[in-house]
């Protein structure tokens, strides 16, 4: 079963050593991505979604990071590989694009050079052949007059164009997995839509798996096939997009969706907010991590951490009372939670 997955993350834990002691930023996270599939990883900032993606790429500073669990990719556990092997996988089999387009490209080299460099790092390609390949992939991203763009420096391009270049750079080696870390957050809405289309199209063309990290439920609905919702280092709900949007099971996910304005929402009414704030990673609650903010929390929630259980086919949730909440039989202990 797992052999068919592009990547299979099993019980990943990531610990950082900071001045304040050991902090577990990612706690028992499992998910997998298949070919031609986009997995959305959703959550607020600090929930561990970016740490998870950088753990897959093994980009975190090894001096201050410890890992547990497995990240299986192409039959190998990425967590146990040496730097040499990893650098052959990075950029070739797994690529990554980032949120910040201004500083993600080196200002001293033309974008063409930076794409060619990615190609040449993974095989003996002549510069001419590499340049042709670069031109091809950049044209495929739909940038106008690609030959000219390749000779330009990053600061001469707009944010949207830079993100296209980043995508071209990530895809030039035809990877099996693309990790997109909030690639559209810094872009305006029109450009955002174009970039999302581009990623979807590239996924199909290259038959690759995509991990799409975002905090925007709207983006998830638009492009993802499956979703993992993260809260404070844990996956709290894992489902297909259809099932999730039809019936979100975790109170936190429900909250996230209600907090999203839709075309039908009453412009006069206040938007829903989840009350309270995310607890600090250095002070993680003993039981359910969402208990303090949850309108349905009980003593059991505070005392015992829930497990990620299968609710319906292809839909997992980490909540003691999902059944009762779905039935409507759970009572809101934390009355007034929705007002706050």
């Amino acid at each position: 079963m797992s052999a068919s997955h592009v990547i299979d993350v099993r019980n990943l834990r990531t610990h950082f050593h900071t001045e304040k002691g050991r902090v577990t930023a990612v706690d028992d996270v499992s998910f997998h991505v298949d070919r031609n599939e986009i997995l959305g990883v959703v959550g607020e900032s600090g929930c561990g979604k970016s740490v998870t993606s950088e753990a897959i790429m093994q980009l975190l500073n090894p001096d201050i990071t410890d890992f547990e669990g497995e990240i299986v990719f192409g039959g190998e556990n990425l967590l146990t590989l040496g730097e040499d092997r990893l650098s052959r996988i990075r950029g070739k089999d797994i690529s990554m694009i980032f949120q910040d387009t201004t500083s993600s490209l080196n200002p001293l080299y033309t974008v063409g050079d930076q794409i060619i460099e990615a190609l040449q790092a993974h095989g003996r390609v002549s510069r001419k052949a590499a340049a042709e390949a670069a031109l091809k992939v950049v044209s495929a991203t739909g940038i106008p007059s690609p030959e000219k763009r390749l000779k330009e420096y990053p600061h001469e391009l707009s944010g949207g164009m830079r993100q296209r270049i980043m995508i071209a750079m990530a895809l030039v080696c035809e990877p099996r997995l693309l990790i997109a870390d909030e690639p559209t957050t810094a872009l305006d809405v029109t450009t955002q839509a174009q970039i999302l289309d581009l990623i979807t199209q590239m996924k199909r063309d290259f038959d690759m798996g995509v991990i799409f990290i975002t905090h925007d439920m709207g983006v998830v609905a638009e492009i993802c096939d499956r979703v993992a919702v993260m809260y404070l280092g844990q996956v709290i709900e894992d489902s297909t997009v259809e099932s999730l949007f039809e019936a979100p099971l975790h109170p936190y996910t429900k909250g996230l969706m209600q907090a999203m304005p839709t075309i039908e929402s009453d412009p006069q009414a206040d938007l829903y907010t989840i009350k309270g704030k995310v607890p600090s990673l250095s002070d993680v609650p003993k039981g359910c991590r969402f208990a303090a903010r949850c309108p349905f929390s009980t003593e059991k929630c505070v005392a015992q951490p829930p497990t990620l259980d299968v609710a319906t086919k292809g839909h997992k949730v980490r909540c003691w009372h999902w059944q009762a909440i779905a039935d409507g039989s759970a009572c809101k202990v934390n009355a007034g939670a929705e007002v706050g």
Partner: protein
């Protein structure tokens, strides 16, 4: 309404307590910064040595004693004697005093002038162009060459040495103050002060100046160190503090001619210079860490 005066005194007390707490917190944070404490400690120790050191020796810096020429360190002469039979220990102590005096005077004077230039040129654009071109020009001169020429014309006195160093090092202070002030000047609260009708002088000195103090201190400690080095160089070349009076530089000059036979004439004043400069450099590094909260320290798991 009736307890409004009560409320305002409460506020005053609270404000006072807050200020007090903040100060003690700052002191605690400073003491936790090992570098700054070490540097300050080293500087203070050297100042004390220079002040108190001569008191415990029976010798005078200018006492010539031809019989005791070039004697190595002994119980009588702790750091040996020079080619005139003068006691090196006492001369080093007086020389250190002279160095510290020059370093301190130059740091103070160039800070005062530099702050004024920096603040006003940050605030008034046309003045900025003029003053910054002048500082550009002054920075083109190696301090020592300019100092040599000034002294050649005006005569070798401690005063002239100090004045020249002030001319050369004021631009260093002015530039740092200016770049800081330019940043602060653009802050919204300065604009708000304008809107409230605060006077320019008040804005410049009461609101912009305090924000430049931290980098000013770092830069001033740097100027202190380089002035001491430059003075030592000048005296070493024979154009600094005039001859019989001891300075670390001219002891080294006397020592250079007899370096093959009297190592103590080089090692002791040399160690003193290194000590002073090292103290300032450590202090400067420490202050920079202390004042810049961005330097986050990575913690290794091993």
């Amino acid at each position: 309404m009736t307890d409004a005066p009560q409320f305002s005194t409460d506020l005053k007390v609270a404000k006072h307590r807050l200020k007090h707490e903040q100060r003690s917190l700052t002191i605690k944070r400073f003491l936790a910064n090992k570098l700054a404490v070490c540097g300050l400690g080293l500087t203070v120790v050297i100042c004390l040595i220079a002040l108190l050191g001569p008191l415990i020796s029976p010798h005078e810096p200018l006492d010539i004693n031809p019989i005791d020429r070039l004697k190595p360190p002994s119980l009588e002469h702790w750091m040996g004697t020079d080619n005139f039979g003068r006691d090196i220990y006492v001369r080093v102590m007086y020389g250190t005093r002279a160095s510290l005096l020059i370093g301190f005077s130059v740091a103070m004077l160039s800070s005062v002038i530099g702050v004024a230039i920096g603040l006003y040129s940050a605030y008034f654009k046309p003045l900025d162009h003029l003053l910054m071109r002048i500082t550009d020009g002054l920075m083109a001169f190696p301090a020592i060459l300019l100092a040599i020429s000034v002294i050649a014309v005006f005569g070798p006195t401690t005063q002239n040495v100090i004045l020249t160093l002030v001319v050369v090092y004021t631009p260093l202070i002015a530039r740092v103050v200016r770049s800081n002030a330019l940043v602060v000047k653009e802050q919204p609260y300065i604009e708000a002060l304008h809107a409230l009708g605060a006077s320019r002088t008040r804005i410049i000195w009461r609101h912009i100046f305090p924000n430049t103090v931290s980098s000013l201190i770092v830069q001033a400690s740097f100027v202190f160190a380089v002035s001491i080095i430059t003075e030592a160089m000048l005296s070493f070349l024979g154009v600094g503090i005039p001859a019989p009076h001891p300075s670390l530089g001219n002891i080294l000059y006397d020592g250079k001619n007899v370096i093959t036979s009297a190592w103590w004439m080089t090692v002791f004043p040399g160690a003193m210079i290194i000590g002073i400069v090292l103290g300032q450099n450590i202090l400067g590094d420490g202050l920079r860490d202390f004042l810049d909260p961005h330097t986050n320290k990575a913690v290794s798991k091993r």
